[in-house]
Symmetry: C2
Subunit: 224 residues, 2 copies
Amino acid sequence: MHMIDSEEWCALNDVDVTATEEAAICSNYETGDVIFYEGDDVKGVYFVKAGLVGVRKADLEGNSTLLKLAEPGDTLGYRPLAADQPHRASAEAVNPSIICFIDKATVRQMIGENPALGLNFLKRAAKELGDAEEKFHESVTLSTRARFAHLLIVMQDRFGHATEDGSLQLTLPLSRSDMAAMLGVRPESVSRVIHELEGTGITHFAEREVTIRDPNSLMDVFIK
Amino acid sequence: MHMIDSEEWCALNDVDVTATEEAAICSNYETGDVIFYEGDDVKGVYFVKAGLVGVRKADLEGNSTLLKLAEPGDTLGYRPLAADQPHRASAEAVNPSIICFIDKATVRQMIGENPALGLNFLKRAAKELGDAEEKFHESVTLSTRARFAHLLIVMQDRFGHATEDGSLQLTLPLSRSDMAAMLGVRPESVSRVIHELEGTGITHFAEREVTIRDPNSLMDVFIK
DNA sequence: CGCCAGGTTGATTTCGCTCAAGCAATGTGG
DNA sequence: CCACATTGCTTGAGCGAAATCAACCTGGCG
C-alpha cells in the first residue's frame, strides 16, 4: 500500500512512486492550521493524505470565499505550479489532516519522466475549470436558495450515506459560516434558507446532522 | 509562416505542424454563427485563426452568460477534450472569424508524440482555472460597478490603444448586452453604470468608442 | 459563574432586477 | 422619398432578494 496514491499519481511506476515518497515530507495539521497563503511563491505541491482542507480566497475587507474542499487523494498547489504563478488562494485544514509536501523540483522531474502524470494533471485541471465556470454561471444565475440546495446535494454525494428508508443522511463537514463562504453569501442568509427548507419538510437539520427527507424536491429547489 | 501558431502549438516541430495543418479544416464563420453547442460531444478542437469568438453558457430561462472571449491564437474545445466531457458551453463568432478544426484523433496523436504540447495545455488550463476562480470570487464580492470597471480595464488591455495625452482609448468588441452577459448582470444595469461613470468624468462612452480619461480613478472603482 | 463563539431571528436598507416606456439609428417596402 | 418596423440602448418607477445592523440565544470552557 503506497503513501501517495491517487487519480493523478497512479501514473508513476513503483520506482518513481518510491522516489517521490522519499522526497515527500509529511506533516500533521490541526483544524485551522494554514498550509499556504495567497500570494506565496509555490514551493511544491501538497498531497492530502488524511483529513479535509479548505481552499480560500480573501478580499480586502476580510471577507473570504471558500473555493473548494480537498479530500484525501487530492493534490493542492499543482495549479499555480503548472501556471507558473504564485498561489492565488490559501489553504487551511478544516479537519485535522495529514499532508505530504513534495517540492517542485521533484514534481517537475516526475512529470518530465512520466508524460502520463502531466496528462493526469491536465485532466484534473480541465475538470476543475469546467466546475469553476459552472460555479460562476450559477452564482450569477441562481438564487441563494437554489445554490444552497445544490451545495447540499454535492455534499451528500461526497460526505453522505443512504439510510434504510429512502431518505439521505449527511454530516456536514463545515460550519454555517463556511457554507456561506462556499456560496458567497452571508451566514444569516444560510440560516434563513435552512429555516425555509425545514418549513417545507424537505430536509431536517440538527446541528451538522442533516436528513434529506425528499431528495427529489431538493433537486427541484436546485433547478429553480 | 505557419497557419497554426500559438503559445500552445509552438511545441510542435516542423513535421508535426505540417501534419496537423494537413489534418485541419478551416472555415469562415459570420457574426452569430455557432461553432459548437453546450452538450455536444467533442469532435476535436478549434483553432481561432482570425476574428473573435464568445464562449457562452445558457440557463433554463434562456439567460446566457459570456464566460470568455477567444482571440486569434486561442484554441477552443481543448478543455472538454482533456476532461473527457461533453462541451459544457457553446461557442459563437462575435466577429467574422476563420477557425481551423482539428479532429481529436490528431490532437491526441500530437500530444502523445509531443509531451510538451500536453504541458502547454496544462499551463493554459491552470491559468484559466485561476482566472475562473477569481471571477467567481469577484462575482460574489464586488458590486456591478466594480466588476464593470474591471472588465473595462481588461478590455483596454486586450483591445485598447494609448493616446498622445495620458488617456486610454478602446473600441469595445461587444454590445452592452454582451458586456452584461460577461458580468452576469442585466443590460439595464450596465447602462446605469456607464451613465454613472460618465457623470464622474472618469470615462467617456460614444457607442463602442471608449475613452478612459482617468485610469487611476477607474482602478479605484474596481478595487472598491 | 461569566464570557465568548457560533448561530438564529428580526427590522431596515440597498442594490440590482423587472417591467414599461421612449429614443436614435438602421433597414424595408410601398 | 416617406411611413413604418426593428434593433440596441437608455431611462424611470416599483419591487424583491439579500445585505446590514442589532439583539438575543445556546452551549462550551476558562
